[in-house]
């Protein structure tokens, strides 16, 4: 049993079911990120944990206590909203202590809690201002401060960074991570940004169309995606998905691919059980950073396969150069060192790290397990 248990939770609006049997156990101190495209049900699930939406079926328990039907204020949770939801008529200090006031905490104690949190977030100088006089980043801090003052069991974040500009978003992301490492609080965090999910979380639940597609650590999600949706949703640029056929050579399964000029390449799989798929089509999944020039290949990998192909486009992006080529009729992106000497329209010798390759069943779109 976890610290926060979501057991077989479903949600329906009339005949429309938006969440299907969600089952997640969150341990104390864990940072769980719910990530998925808009409309996947992640915010609905968060609102159900908060008690802002009713649970159609199943149960949610916090610290072993089932909270279905318990009023949001009695669940000992705090929520940071996308719009920050700061009360416009109150000062920052009043905003942060409103919850304590409503719970009947005496003033001296409220002031002490406020002072502690204000110091932690370095917003001591803002306490007498109104939200309207704050910048976006300051509002974000105040919204987090309001949650922290309550000292709740579970923190809920609803896309808290999506209203900030790109630079501030990266800064605040680091700050939230620091805060979590320092306070070791239990956090459920909703976002549609896969980078946020990968950087912040200790575990990720990737959601789509009301189902949890995969629940796992960022590394598990990134390296061994459960299915095509997770593979293409997480990571930027997305994982390359190429149709291939499994062929046997020297007793090892290989992926047979055609390059831009019709030449066939056979790349040896590290995953031995793919022998069972001999002669059958699969979908080969390969991350852009697993395709490099031979000098840039991962030295620790035991399975670097060379192949050559014609380059379609190069996109220098400062730290890396993205190179596009065609494999089995699909555009494939490779991530090169910035100074790799690649010319569009010419053939180039690539190195592909087949240890990182994954294979999907084209019929079910699920990953073929090793």
């Amino acid at each position: 049993m976890g610290f926060l248990d979501i057991r077989n939770v479903t949600k329906s609006y009339g005949p429309v079911q938006v969440l299907h049997r969600i089952d997640i156990a969150v341990e104390e101190g864990e940072f769980l990120v719910l990530v998925g495209p808009s409309g996947c049900g992640k915010s609905t699930l968060l609102n159900m944990i908060a008690g802002l939406e009713a649970i159609t079926d199943g149960e949610i328990a916090i610290k072993g206590r089932v909270v279905n039907g318990v009023h949001p204020s009695k669940r000992n949770i705090a929520m940071v909203f996308q719009s920050y939801a700061l009360y416009p008529n109150m000062t920052v200090g009043q905003n942060m202590t409103f919850g304590l006031e409503m719970h009947g905490v005496p003033k001296p104690e409220r002031d002490r809690a406020l002072a502690d949190v204000a110091k932690l977030l370095q917003i001591e100088t803002l306490l007498d201002r109104k939200p309207g006089q704050l910048s976006g980043g300051q509002r974000q801090r105040v919204a987090m401060g309001r949650a922290l003052v309550r000292n709740p069991d579970v923190f809920l974040f609803d896309e808290p960074l999506s209203n900030l500009d790109a630079k501030l978003r990266v800064d605040m992301r680091t700050e939230i991570k620091k805060l979590h490492q320092k306070l070791k609080t239990t956090i459920v965090y909703v976002t549609h940004d896969q980078i946020e999910a990968l950087t912040l979380s200790t575990r990720i639940a990737v959601m789509n169309k009301g189902h949890v597609q995969q629940l796992g650590t960022p590394k598990e999600i990134y390296d061994t995606p459960a299915n095509l949706f997770v593979a293409t949703f997480m990571g930027s640029p997305a994982m390359n998905i190429v149709p291939a056929t499994v062929v046997m050579e020297n007793g090892h399964p290989h992926a047979a691919l055609t390059d831009a000029d019709g030449g066939v390449h056979r790349l040896r799989f590290s995953q031995a059980n793919l022998a069972a798929w001999e002669g059958k089509p699969i979908l080969l999944g390969i991350r852009p950073e697993a395709i490099t020039d031979p000098e840039g290949a991962d030295r620790k990998s035991g399975n670097i396969q060379p192949f050559s192909n014609r380059v379609t486009v190069t996109e220098p992006a400062g730290s890396d150069t993205f190179v596009t080529m065609t494999l089995s009729g699909k555009d494939v992106i490779a991530r090169m060192r910035a100074d790799a000497n690649v010319t569009p329209g010419q053939s180039f010798d690539f190195a592909i790290n087949m240890e990182k390759a994954v294979a999907f069943d084209p019929a079910t779109e699920a990953r073929i397990p090793a």
């Binding site: 949001p72 929520m79 939801a85 009360y87 416009p88 919850g99 409503m102």
Partner: protein, 292 residues
């Protein structure tokens, strides 16, 4: 800078501008003329009106017509002046405006932040009440007031005006609160505030502009109402009915100067409300529509 604005903005020359102001001044004078006539004639003895020019300034200034209209003029059969009726109107208007505004605010709060099945229908029906002419409800209202034992009393009039005003005040507050972020209400719920606490601490403090709209609208309508006053006023008739009785009296000399003074007295409170709160009126009306 000046050159830039002339290039980009619609350029208005000196002549055009003079012309615009001239027209505006003329219109202003035209609209102020009745007030001028009422003002000057309420300050002169009766013989100056009957014997001479209505437009002229008084040759002999006097406050006597005002004094008479306020405290001694014949209203119906009693020589009481307008004073007691003025008080009746105040006693009726203040609670009626306050109650209808508070109920409208609560309705708006519930219809936007505590939505329930069929709430749009409820709101639609309330809106419908804005379009019902006064005359239609006279007889049913009389029956209800009679059954409640409130016929002919100030509380009865208050009830009538509250019932009639709720449609408008609900419309104002609902549209205003519709653009109020629901996340704030949710945040307050998590913070532990209840239904009334959220209303009182979160919504009401930011409702100033729309409250002004509601108060002005209700005040002018209720103060200026004649039909309900004359139908249900009984012994506690409002100012409008008394003014009618003063002006329409069929016996004795028509004291036009007193009538003018009485008419101004009857119009003063609404005038005052507009002068004090008028600039918030437009601001409040615009608020809901522009913010989005």
């Amino acid at each position: 800078m000046a050159a830039v604005t002339q290039d980009t903005a619609v350029s208005t020359g000196r002549i055009t501008r003079t012309f615009i102001y001239l027209v505006l001044v003329l219109f202003a004078l035209f609209y102020l003329l009745p007030l001028y006539v009422m003002g000057v004639n309420s300050l002169k003895p009766l013989n100056e009106i009957t014997g001479g020019n209505m437009m002229a300034l008084p040759s002999q200034w006097t406050l006597e017509p005002w004094r008479s209209a306020w405290s001694t003029a014949q209203i119906g059969v009693e020589p009481t002046g307008l004073k007691p009726y003025f008080l009746n109107s105040i006693l009726m208007v203040v609670p009626a405006v306050a109650i209808s505004t508070i109920i409208g605010a609560l309705n708006g709060y519930v219809l936007t932040k505590w939505r329930f099945r069929g709430d749009t229908w409820v709101f639609g029906l309330m809106l419908f009440s804005c379009f019902i002419p006064f005359q239609i409800v006279l007889i049913p209202m009389a029956v209800v007031l009679g059954k409640l034992g409130l016929a002919g009393t100030v509380p009865g009039l208050i009830l009538v005006h509250v019932v009639y005003g709720i449609g408008f005040t609900t419309l104002y507050f609902r549209n205003y609160y519709a653009s109020f972020p629901t996340e704030l209400v949710r945040a307050a719920m998590i913070d532990g505030a209840g239904f009334f606490r959220i209303f009182w601490r979160i919504l009401l403090p930011v409702s100033g502009p729309i409250a002004v709209v509601s108060v002005i609208w209700q005040f002018t309508n209720i103060w200026n109402d004649f039909l309900f006053g004359v139908s249900f006023g009984g012994t506690s008739q409002p100012m409008t009915v008394a003014l009618n009785n003063l002006v329409q009296s069929s016996t004795g000399v028509k004291e036009y100067n007193v009538h003018f003074a009485g008419a101004i007295l009857a119009a003063l409170p609404t005038l005052l409300v507009y002068i004090v709160a008028g600039r918030y009126f437009v601001r409040g009306l615009m608020a809901g529509s522009v913010k989005g």
